[in-house]
């Protein structure tokens, strides 16, 4: 089975959750983390990652600044804003509700 591309709508939530868990992180680090967390089942397309980051920044959920990475390189770090923290909570709750509903539909004995 090949690797799955990250679904469009969920990438933003994954980015936010990653930043909540790890604190400030650069784009490459975020992608790596998402791939690791999924057990390498997901493949982050960088062509969608950076537009998604920019969009989140425009929406005010994250902010960015230049800093120095672990291996001593200059990198752009993203971190959650206060609005971003609320957004993670809200999106996570909605996502759980949605999956719970879907799960009910899909479980055979409820049919």
């Amino acid at each position: 089975m090949g690797k799955t591309d990250v679904w469009q709508g969920t990438l933003a939530l994954m980015i936010l959750k990653t930043l909540e868990t790890l604190g400030p992180q650069h784009g490459y680090g975020i992608a790596r983390r998402i791939e690791q967390t999924s057990g390498h089942k997901l493949l982050v397309n960088y062509g969608t990652l950076y537009p998604a980051l920019l969009k989140l920044e425009q929406e005010g959920y994250i902010k960015s600044s230049w800093g120095i990475s672990d291996n001593n390189r200059k990198a752009k770090f993203y971190q959650l804003t206060r609005a971003g923290r609320k957004q993670v909570e809200r999106e996570a709750r909605e996502w759980n509700e949605t999956t719970a509903i879907l799960a009910k539909f899909l479980s055979p004995d409820e049919a």
């Binding site: 650069h26 784009g27 490459y28 680090g29 790596r32 397309n45 960088y46 062509g47 969608t48 950076y50 537009p51 920019l54 969009k55 425009q58 990475s69 291996n71 390189r73 200059k74 990198a75 752009k76």
Partner: protein, 861 residues
């Protein structure tokens, strides 16, 4: 255009890449391999940059500017294409803007009165007598004022005219006599001074309100005019006010207003019908309710005054509808036609862009490979369209004022005559919207197909072309259909004009000069004085070289649809009407001869019919046939009043019907009388001169004659009788001319579309045709295959167009005369014309296909 933000993002990507390479090296790859893998994972850097820029909010401005620059560059490389596109668009947008200016001024803008939609005209409905909207009699107006419960105010106006003297060259002015509430019912205020009081109307005070036009023209806009006196018909009238420039009511050539001042006898008379009545609805009252109420009132009046009102009811018409008449339909038809022309032009451009897109395939492939996204390509194509339409639209707006002047004759007389001449903000906005919309329309299809092709191109070489070709087929079919619809419209109006012109007028209109010398009743009190003036002028005019005959008459043909009189024929065998009336025309004895009327029976009036001789009358055929069927009319006695002491006239002749009321209105009985045999109240101020020369060449010498007879006598309305007749159908002529112009343009554009499509087809298939010829196909077969395609497309478009016309032509019905909206002759000839033109358009490409040299064609690839 690079921005600091791009640099920032570039740095971020480099840092990303470096982190990835570091990881890969740590995982044990060689530095080169690590770099290669990292680059692969990052994907096309350029593509990512593009996407990030697309997301960024202001990047589109940079892109737009880039797109515009790129478009201008590509268009410069194809100057012929650009020129055709721009000229077509300029014509289309210019025409639409011009027509819109008329639609805006006449249909959209409110009339220059307060709450204009609450104003109505109230007419007598005398349909039985041939006057569905008859001018009310003062007695009826008086009763309506007293009895109605639906109007807050109801005002009356009557015609008037006066010669102004003593402050410059004598001039004949057009005026209206109005009730004192006229201005308040309309809700208009003078710009200087005041209007009349009720007291002034009752007393018959000599006070006058003048128009803005007269004020500027004759008194240089001097505000001290208020309080001064004007010499009108030799009497002193005090100017009390000046109306604003925007104020017109039903006619745009009115110079002044005076109190109508009904005498008690006038206010009660119900036989002479000459008023215009305008009223303002009470709040909440609908048109239908007002109409019902006024019909109730007229039923009361029928019972109360059976001798005069038995055939009279009333009709209430919204003022705007009344003013517009046919104009609404005429303008909407023209607007539709102009829009259709623009759409056909857009279809041509879409088609051209499609074929250009096909030839720019490699360019697009390169751009895609370099990382241009599909959205970007679509935007690029749209930008090219918008650049074209912006230039075309700008040019079109510049030429619109020229076209606007052509529309002047379509403006109803109740609108200021400069209503259309303003190129204002609304018009500019319209032109802008029209440009943008057409730009999007003609480039969206090619843009979409470009993008679609760019994404499939890499796979196959040929399939993409099929879809584009089908799209172009549809566009050509649409063009043919739309052109046919416009041609049908123009054809129907052309036939209508032909039918109108073919009507037997009953007189000879060519070679006749007409003018008016309105004698002031105050200076020419007695009929004898007037006759002396008329005869002195006529004697001199007859002596001019080239003059065949000359006469004075009261109302020339086409000048008045009414001015009728009650009549009674002694011993009439038939009496179809309870209250018969006839058009009454009075003239000097030569009048009918000068008009060129045809005698059917008896004789015309002549030098025998003078004062003291037996009273003579000539009647028209309609009157003789309807009231004296089967007998000779000559010798019968006619009187024009029921009272026995009134004079009795003897019919001396019958003339073929003279079309007194214009081309299209139904004929009525008519009587012709000799001025010299009538009473003191008669005038015959219209001079008619028949000549073998150019009628207008006589205008100057005749004006000198009039000035010699009476230096204070003004002259007005100098025109040939032909021109007077043309006024009756001027709007239809103008409408026809414009529609014909649009239809020719549409036909031209559609044939270009067809030609372009087939040329492109032949060019694309040169190789295939070469192969077929090499394999033994005859050149005839090749020609037939290309022609066949053109003919098939034309046939489909033609059928669609015929169906649409068949349904849509009914909208024109009100403008037609003597032709049905589905006139088979028009439909057939238009279809034939279009087939012929499209065959010509197809023939060129077909011939080129036949001349394909198989050897050259096969080598070409």
């Amino acid at each position: 255009m690079r921005t600091p933000r791009d640099d920032d993002f570039g740095a971020e990507l480099r840092s990303h890449l470096q982190s990835h390479i570091d990881d890969n090296v740590q995982a044990g790859m060689t530095p080169d391999e690590a770099r290669r893998q990292a680059l692969l994972a990052l994907g096309g850097v350029a593509q990512t940059v593009e996407r990030v820029r697309d997301t960024r909010s202001l990047a589109w401005l940079d892109d737009a500017w880039q797109d515009v620059k790129y478009s201008v560059r590509t268009l410069r490389k194809a100057p012929a294409f650009a020129a055709v596109a721009i000229v077509t668009l300029a014509l289309g947008i210019g025409a639409n803007t011009a027509i819109f200016s008329a639609v805006d001024a006449i249909l959209i803008r409110p009339l220059p009165y307060s709450q204009p939609d609450r104003l109505v005209m109230v007419w007598e409905d005398a349909t039985a007598a041939g006057f569905p909207r008859n001018t009310p009699a003062p007695g009826n107006y008086t009763e309506w004022t007293r009895l109605n419960r639906v109007f807050t105010g109801i005002a009356a106006t009557a015609s008037g005219s006066a010669n102004v003297t003593g402050d410059g060259t004598p001039e004949q002015l057009n005026g209206r006599r109005v009730t004192s509430n006229f201005f308040s019912v309309l809700g208009v205020q003078p710009v200087v001074g005041r209007t009349f009081t009720e007291q002034e109307d009752r007393d018959g005070a000599r006070v006058v309100v003048i128009s803005h036009g007269l004020w500027l023209r004759r008194y240089a806009g001097d505000t001290s005019i208020v309080g001064r006196t004007l010499q009108l018909n030799g009497n002193a009238w005090q100017v009390v006010g000046v109306m604003p420039r925007s104020f017109v009511f039903r006619r745009n050539d009115i110079d002044y207003w005076t109190p109508i001042h009904f005498s008690p006898a006038q206010a009660a008379q119900r036989r002479s019908h000459y008023l215009n009545v305008v009223a303002r609805l009470k709040p909440g009252v609908t048109i239908a309710a007002a109409d019902a109420e006024m019909r109730r009132v007229s039923t009361l009046l029928q019972q109360q005054y059976p001798d005069t009102n038995v055939r009279v009811t009333t009709t209430v018409v919204p003022l705007k509808d009344d003013l517009l008449g046919n104009t609404r339909v005429e303008l909407l038809v023209l607007m539709g036609a102009a829009a259709a022309v623009l759409l056909i032009a857009c279809a041509n451009l879409a088609s051209l862009l499609l074929s250009r897109a096909a030839s720019r395939r490699s360019d697009l492939a390169v751009r895609t490979a370099l990382g241009a996204t599909r959205a970007r390509l679509v935007r690029q194509a749209l930008a090219e369209g918008l650049v074209l339409s912006a230039i075309g639209g700008g040019l079109g707006t510049a030429i619109a004022p020229l076209a606007i002047s052509l529309l002047a004759r379509l403006t109803p007389r109740g609108f200021p005559d400069n209503a259309l001449s303003i190129l204002d903000l609304r018009l500019l906005i319209f032109a802008l919207v029209a440009s943008v919309v057409s730009g999007v329309i003609f480039s969206i299809l090619p843009a979409w197909q470009t993008a679609w092709r760019a994404s499939v191109e890499r796979g196959s070489r040929t399939t993409a072309g099929v879809d584009a070709r089908r799209t172009r087929d549809v566009l050509v079919v649409f063009q043919v259909a739309a052109a046919l619809v416009l041609l049908v419209g123009a054809g129907l109006l052309l036939r209508t004009l032909g039918q109108l012109r073919a009507i037997d007028l009953g007189f000879k209109a060519d070679g006749v000069l007409t003018m008016k010398t309105a004698l002031a009743p105050t200076r020419y009190r007695e009929l004898a004085q007037r006759l002396e003036f008329y005869n002195r002028v006529l004697d001199e005019v007859r002596r001019l070289p080239g003059v065949d005959s000359a006469a004075y008459g009261s109302y020339l043909p086409f000048m008045s649809q009414g001015n009728t009189n009650f009549f009674q024929i002694e011993g009439a065998t038939a009496s179809p009407d309870a209250d018969p009336d006839a058009l009454r025309r009075v003239g000097t004895t030569d009048y009918l001869r000068t008009l060129g009327a045809h005698v059917v029976e008896g004789r015309l009036l002549d030098s025998r019919d003078v004062a003291g001789a037996p009273l003579a009358v000539v009647v028209n055929e309609t009157m003789a046939r309807r009231y004296l069927p089967g007998t000779t009319a000559v010798g019968h006695h006619v009187r024009f009043d029921v009272r026995p002491e009134t004079p009795v006239f003897t019919i001396v002749g019958v003339v073929k019907d003279v079309r007194e009321r214009g081309y299209a209105l139904a004929m009525k009985p008519a009587v012709y009388l000799s001025l010299a045999q009538l009473g003191n109240g008669e005038f015959a101020d219209s001079l008619v001169v028949r000549t073998s020369r150019d009628p207008l060449s006589l205008a100057a010498p005749i004006q000198r004659i009039v000035a010699a007879v009476d230096p204070e006598q003004p002259i007005s309305a100098v025109q040939s009788l032909d021109d007077l007749l043309d006024l009756d159908i001027a709007d239809r002529q103008q409408q026809m001319a414009l529609l014909a112009m649009f239809a020719s343009l549409a036909l031209f554009l559609a044939s270009i579309g067809l030609y372009g499509l087939l040329s492109h087809l032949v060019a694309q298939r040169t190789r295939e045709i070469g192969v077929r010829i090499a394999l033994g196909a005859s050149r005839g077969a090749v020609v037939r295959s290309v022609l066949g395609r053109g003919v098939a497309l034309t046939a489909i478009g033609l059928s669609a167009g015929l169906v649409i016309s068949w349904i849509g032509a009914r909208a024109l019905q009100g403008l037609l005369y003597g032709v049905s909206a589905t006139d088979p002759v028009t439909f057939a000839s238009v279809a034939a014309l279009l087939s012929l033109i499209s065959f010509v358009a197809c023939y060129g490409p077909a011939r080129r296909a036949a001349l394909v040299d198989p050897i050259v064609a096969l080598r070409a690839e």
